[in-house]
Protein backbone atom coordinates (compact mmCIF):
# COMPACT_ATOMS: atom_id res chain seq x y z
CA UNK A 1 0.00 0.00 0.00
CA UNK A 2 1.39 3.37 -1.04
CA UNK A 3 0.62 6.20 1.34
CA UNK A 4 0.57 9.98 1.02
CA UNK A 5 0.42 12.28 4.03
CA UNK A 6 -1.23 15.64 3.52
CA UNK A 7 0.37 18.72 4.96
CA UNK A 8 -1.68 21.82 5.69
CA UNK A 9 -0.21 24.89 7.40
CA UNK A 10 -0.56 24.38 11.14
CA UNK A 11 -0.45 20.59 11.01
CA UNK A 12 2.11 19.32 13.50
CA UNK A 13 1.82 15.52 13.63
CA UNK A 14 2.89 14.72 10.11
CA UNK A 15 6.29 13.45 11.21
CA UNK A 16 4.68 11.15 13.77
CA UNK A 17 2.59 9.77 10.95
CA UNK A 18 5.63 9.35 8.69
CA UNK A 19 7.30 7.36 11.44
CA UNK A 20 4.27 5.11 11.95
CA UNK A 21 3.94 4.44 8.23
CA UNK A 22 7.68 3.83 7.83
CA UNK A 23 7.65 1.35 10.74
CA UNK A 24 4.83 -0.74 9.33
CA UNK A 25 5.02 -0.23 5.59
CA UNK A 26 8.77 -0.44 5.29
CA UNK A 27 8.93 2.51 2.95
CA UNK A 28 8.62 6.27 3.09
CA UNK A 29 5.23 7.87 2.59
CA UNK A 30 5.08 10.94 0.43
CA UNK A 31 4.24 14.28 1.98
CA UNK A 32 1.81 16.26 -0.15
CA UNK A 33 1.39 20.01 0.31
CA UNK A 34 -2.21 21.17 0.52
CA UNK A 35 -1.93 23.44 -2.52
CA UNK A 36 -1.30 20.50 -4.81
CA UNK A 37 -4.28 19.66 -6.98
CA UNK A 38 -3.41 16.03 -7.58
CA UNK A 39 -2.26 13.14 -5.45
CA UNK A 40 0.96 11.37 -6.47
CA UNK A 41 0.30 8.59 -8.98
CA UNK A 42 -0.50 5.23 -7.47
CA UNK A 43 -1.39 6.42 -3.98
CA UNK A 44 -3.70 3.94 -2.23
CA UNK A 45 -3.98 5.61 1.16
CA UNK A 46 -4.29 9.31 1.96
CA UNK A 47 -3.54 10.28 5.56
CA UNK A 48 -4.65 13.54 7.14
CA UNK A 49 -2.59 13.98 10.30
CA UNK A 50 -3.27 15.95 13.45
CA UNK A 51 -2.49 19.50 14.39
CA UNK A 52 -4.17 22.83 14.09
CA UNK A 53 -4.58 23.46 10.39
CA UNK A 54 -4.98 27.16 9.64
CA UNK A 55 -4.94 27.87 13.37
CA UNK A 56 -8.39 26.29 13.78
CA UNK A 57 -9.79 29.55 12.37
CA UNK A 58 -13.57 29.63 11.97
CA UNK A 59 -13.93 25.95 12.98
CA UNK A 60 -11.41 23.16 13.33
CA UNK A 61 -10.71 21.81 9.86
CA UNK A 62 -13.03 24.24 8.07
CA UNK A 63 -10.28 25.99 6.13
CA UNK A 64 -8.31 22.86 5.30
CA UNK A 65 -11.47 21.25 3.96
CA UNK A 66 -11.45 23.93 1.25
CA UNK A 67 -7.79 23.47 0.30
CA UNK A 68 -7.08 22.58 -3.35
CA UNK A 69 -5.84 19.05 -2.53
CA UNK A 70 -9.18 18.14 -0.96
CA UNK A 71 -10.86 17.91 -4.38
CA UNK A 72 -8.35 15.21 -5.24
CA UNK A 73 -8.97 13.50 -1.90
CA UNK A 74 -12.73 13.50 -2.54
CA UNK A 75 -12.16 11.99 -5.97
CA UNK A 76 -9.82 9.40 -4.42
CA UNK A 77 -12.45 8.49 -1.83
CA UNK A 78 -15.15 8.33 -4.50
CA UNK A 79 -12.97 5.84 -6.41
CA UNK A 80 -12.83 3.67 -3.31
CA UNK A 81 -9.39 4.83 -2.19
CA UNK A 82 -8.39 4.56 1.47
CA UNK A 83 -8.40 7.66 3.67
CA UNK A 84 -7.32 7.95 7.30
CA UNK A 85 -7.89 11.12 9.30
CA UNK A 86 -6.59 11.46 12.84
CA UNK A 87 -7.52 14.28 15.21
CA UNK A 88 -7.49 17.43 13.10
CA UNK A 89 -7.53 15.07 10.12
CA UNK A 90 -10.84 13.64 11.39
CA UNK A 91 -12.19 17.17 11.80
CA UNK A 92 -11.14 18.00 8.24
CA UNK A 93 -12.88 14.88 6.91
CA UNK A 94 -16.15 15.85 8.59
CA UNK A 95 -15.86 19.43 7.36
CA UNK A 96 -15.20 18.13 3.85
CA UNK A 97 -18.30 15.95 4.04
CA UNK A 98 -16.33 12.70 3.70
CA UNK A 99 -17.57 11.58 7.10
CA UNK A 100 -20.84 12.57 8.79
CA UNK A 101 -21.22 14.63 11.96
CA UNK A 102 -18.96 17.24 13.49
CA UNK A 103 -16.47 17.66 16.32
CA UNK A 104 -17.48 20.23 18.89
CA UNK A 105 -15.53 21.83 21.70
CA UNK A 106 -14.90 19.31 24.47
CA UNK A 107 -17.89 19.30 26.80
CA UNK A 108 -15.67 20.24 29.76
CA UNK A 109 -14.01 23.00 27.71
CA UNK A 110 -10.55 21.72 28.63
CA UNK A 111 -7.92 20.64 26.18
CA UNK A 112 -7.40 16.93 26.86
CA UNK A 113 -3.85 15.65 26.68
CA UNK A 114 -3.76 12.15 28.13
CA UNK A 115 -4.04 8.50 27.25
CA UNK A 116 -7.41 6.94 26.68
CA UNK A 117 -8.55 3.38 26.00
CA UNK A 118 -10.32 2.64 22.74
CA UNK A 119 -12.53 -0.35 22.06
CA UNK A 120 -12.44 -1.89 18.59
CA UNK A 121 -16.05 -2.13 17.45
CA UNK A 122 -15.39 -4.28 14.40
CA UNK A 123 -12.34 -6.03 13.06
CA UNK A 124 -13.45 -6.97 9.56
CA UNK A 125 -12.02 -3.83 7.99
CA UNK A 126 -8.75 -3.00 6.30
CA UNK A 127 -7.96 -0.67 9.20
CA UNK A 128 -8.81 -2.87 12.17
CA UNK A 129 -8.22 -6.50 11.17
CA UNK A 130 -5.09 -6.88 13.33
CA UNK A 131 -7.16 -6.40 16.47
CA UNK A 132 -9.77 -8.72 17.91
CA UNK A 133 -13.32 -7.43 17.92
CA UNK A 134 -13.92 -5.84 21.28
CA UNK A 135 -10.19 -5.47 21.96
CA UNK A 136 -9.16 -2.41 23.92
CA UNK A 137 -5.97 -0.52 23.28
CA UNK A 138 -4.31 2.57 24.63
CA UNK A 139 -4.16 5.70 22.49
CA UNK A 140 -2.94 9.17 23.39
CA UNK A 141 -5.38 11.96 22.82
CA UNK A 142 -4.58 15.63 22.46
CA UNK A 143 -7.51 17.74 21.44
CA UNK A 144 -9.70 20.64 22.43
CA UNK A 145 -12.49 19.81 20.00
CA UNK A 146 -13.16 16.09 20.10
CA UNK A 147 -16.79 16.07 21.14
CA UNK A 148 -18.33 14.03 18.34
CA UNK A 149 -21.86 15.02 17.49
CA UNK A 150 -24.45 14.32 14.84
CA UNK A 151 -28.22 14.36 14.77
CA UNK A 152 -30.00 11.38 16.28
CA UNK A 153 -30.91 9.93 12.87
CA UNK A 154 -27.26 10.01 11.78
CA UNK A 155 -26.10 8.42 15.03
CA UNK A 156 -28.74 5.70 14.66
CA UNK A 157 -27.63 5.10 11.09
CA UNK A 158 -23.96 4.87 12.11
CA UNK A 159 -24.81 2.30 14.74
CA UNK A 160 -27.36 0.48 12.59
CA UNK A 161 -24.89 0.14 9.73
CA UNK A 162 -22.10 -0.77 12.11
CA UNK A 163 -19.96 2.21 11.12
CA UNK A 164 -18.64 3.07 14.56
CA UNK A 165 -14.95 2.13 14.45
CA UNK A 166 -13.85 2.90 18.01
CA UNK A 167 -15.49 3.94 21.24
CA UNK A 168 -13.94 5.39 24.38
CA UNK A 169 -13.71 2.44 26.74
CA UNK A 170 -12.51 4.03 29.97
CA UNK A 171 -14.66 7.10 30.30
CA UNK A 172 -16.02 9.66 27.91
CA UNK A 173 -13.99 12.75 28.68
CA UNK A 174 -14.90 14.98 25.76
CA UNK A 175 -18.66 14.45 25.70
CA UNK A 176 -18.81 12.54 22.41
CA UNK A 177 -22.23 11.22 21.47
CA UNK A 178 -22.53 7.52 22.31
CA UNK A 179 -18.84 7.42 23.32
CA UNK A 180 -17.82 7.55 19.66
CA UNK A 181 -14.09 8.05 19.11
CA UNK A 182 -13.91 7.09 15.43
CA UNK A 183 -16.17 6.26 12.50
CA UNK A 184 -16.05 4.67 9.08
CA UNK A 185 -17.62 5.80 5.83
CA UNK A 186 -20.20 3.31 4.51
CA UNK A 187 -17.62 1.65 2.20
CA UNK A 188 -15.32 1.08 5.22
CA UNK A 189 -12.45 2.73 3.36
CA UNK A 190 -12.52 6.10 5.08
CA UNK A 191 -11.73 6.19 8.80
CA UNK A 192 -11.61 9.19 11.10
CA UNK A 193 -10.72 9.12 14.80
CA UNK A 194 -9.69 11.63 17.43
CA UNK A 195 -6.95 9.81 19.42
CA UNK A 196 -3.49 9.19 18.02
CA UNK A 197 -2.56 5.55 17.30
CA UNK A 198 0.51 6.84 15.44
CA UNK A 199 1.98 7.98 18.74
CA UNK A 200 2.30 4.44 20.10
CA UNK A 201 4.08 2.45 17.41
CA UNK A 202 7.49 1.80 18.96
CA UNK A 203 8.65 0.59 22.38
CA UNK A 204 10.67 3.78 22.63
CA UNK A 205 7.39 5.72 22.56
CA UNK A 206 6.18 3.75 25.55
CA UNK A 207 4.23 1.12 23.70
CA UNK A 208 3.04 -0.27 20.41
CA UNK A 209 -0.70 -0.20 21.05
CA UNK A 210 -1.39 1.78 17.90
CA UNK A 211 0.80 -0.25 15.59
CA UNK A 212 -1.88 -2.81 14.58
CA UNK A 213 -3.65 -0.06 12.64
CA UNK A 214 -0.61 0.55 10.46
CA UNK A 215 0.32 -3.13 10.24
CA UNK A 216 -3.19 -3.86 8.99
CA UNK A 217 -2.96 -1.14 6.36
CA UNK A 218 0.49 -2.33 5.31
CA UNK A 219 -0.86 -5.82 4.72
CA UNK A 220 -3.83 -4.64 2.67
Amino acid sequence: MKAAILLFPGINRERDMVLAVRQSFGHEPQIVWHKETELPAGVDLVILPGGFSFGDYLRCGAMAAQSPIMQAVKAHAARGGYVLGVCNGFQILTEAGLLPGALLRNAGLRFLSMDTMLRVERNDTVFTNKWAKGAEFRAPMAHGDGNYTADAATLDRLEGENLVAFRYADGNRNGSARDIAGIFAPNLRVLGLMPHPENLVDPLMGGTDGKPLFDALAAA
Partner: protein, 80 residues
Protein backbone atom coordinates in the same frame (compact mmCIF):
# COMPACT_ATOMS: atom_id res chain seq x y z
CA UNK B 1 -22.73 46.68 0.63
CA UNK B 2 -22.21 44.97 3.92
CA UNK B 3 -23.65 41.62 4.89
CA UNK B 4 -23.68 40.55 8.51
CA UNK B 5 -23.76 36.82 9.02
CA UNK B 6 -24.65 35.57 12.48
CA UNK B 7 -23.73 31.94 13.14
CA UNK B 8 -25.14 30.15 16.17
CA UNK B 9 -25.02 26.58 17.37
CA UNK B 10 -28.35 24.92 16.63
CA UNK B 11 -30.79 24.53 19.46
CA UNK B 12 -30.06 21.31 21.24
CA UNK B 13 -26.35 21.36 20.41
CA UNK B 14 -24.36 21.61 23.60
CA UNK B 15 -22.75 25.03 23.97
CA UNK B 16 -20.21 24.67 26.79
CA UNK B 17 -18.81 28.15 26.19
CA UNK B 18 -22.25 29.66 26.62
CA UNK B 19 -22.68 27.63 29.80
CA UNK B 20 -19.35 28.84 31.19
CA UNK B 21 -20.26 32.46 30.42
CA UNK B 22 -23.62 31.96 32.15
CA UNK B 23 -21.93 30.58 35.25
CA UNK B 24 -19.49 33.48 35.31
CA UNK B 25 -22.33 36.01 35.01
CA UNK B 26 -24.18 34.30 37.85
CA UNK B 27 -21.01 34.46 39.92
CA UNK B 28 -20.80 38.18 39.21
CA UNK B 29 -24.20 38.57 40.83
CA UNK B 30 -26.35 38.59 37.69
CA UNK B 31 -28.78 36.11 39.16
CA UNK B 32 -31.33 36.75 36.43
CA UNK B 33 -29.17 35.11 33.75
CA UNK B 34 -30.51 31.79 32.56
CA UNK B 35 -29.28 30.01 29.46
CA UNK B 36 -26.48 31.70 27.51
CA UNK B 37 -25.66 30.82 23.90
CA UNK B 38 -22.54 32.03 22.16
CA UNK B 39 -22.08 32.46 18.43
CA UNK B 40 -20.08 34.34 15.83
CA UNK B 41 -20.70 37.43 13.76
CA UNK B 42 -18.96 37.68 10.40
CA UNK B 43 -19.12 40.96 8.51
CA UNK B 44 -18.66 40.78 4.77
CA UNK B 45 -17.91 43.77 2.57
CA UNK B 46 -19.50 42.83 -0.77
CA UNK B 47 -19.02 44.42 -4.19
CA UNK B 48 -22.74 44.34 -4.77
CA UNK B 49 -25.40 47.06 -5.05
CA UNK B 50 -28.49 44.88 -5.03
CA UNK B 51 -29.52 43.91 -1.50
CA UNK B 52 -31.31 40.75 -2.60
CA UNK B 53 -28.28 39.56 -4.55
CA UNK B 54 -25.98 40.41 -1.67
CA UNK B 55 -28.17 38.42 0.71
CA UNK B 56 -28.33 35.44 -1.61
CA UNK B 57 -24.55 35.48 -2.04
CA UNK B 58 -23.93 35.72 1.68
CA UNK B 59 -26.34 32.84 2.31
CA UNK B 60 -24.46 30.76 -0.21
CA UNK B 61 -21.18 31.60 1.55
CA UNK B 62 -22.69 30.70 4.90
CA UNK B 63 -23.85 27.30 3.65
CA UNK B 64 -20.53 26.52 1.97
CA UNK B 65 -18.12 27.75 4.61
CA UNK B 66 -19.18 30.20 7.30
CA UNK B 67 -21.56 27.82 9.07
CA UNK B 68 -21.36 24.07 9.48
CA UNK B 69 -24.95 23.08 8.86
CA UNK B 70 -24.51 19.90 10.91
CA UNK B 71 -24.22 21.89 14.11
CA UNK B 72 -24.92 25.53 13.30
CA UNK B 73 -27.61 27.77 11.93
CA UNK B 74 -27.11 31.24 10.50
CA UNK B 75 -28.93 34.39 9.54
CA UNK B 76 -27.89 37.08 7.10
CA UNK B 77 -28.67 40.76 7.45
CA UNK B 78 -27.80 43.39 4.89
CA UNK B 79 -26.58 46.69 6.31
CA UNK B 80 -27.01 49.79 4.21
Amino acid sequence: MKAIVTVMLKNGVLDPQGKAIGHALNNLGFAQVGEVRMGKIIELELAETDAAKAKAAAEDMAKKLLANMVIESFKVEIAA
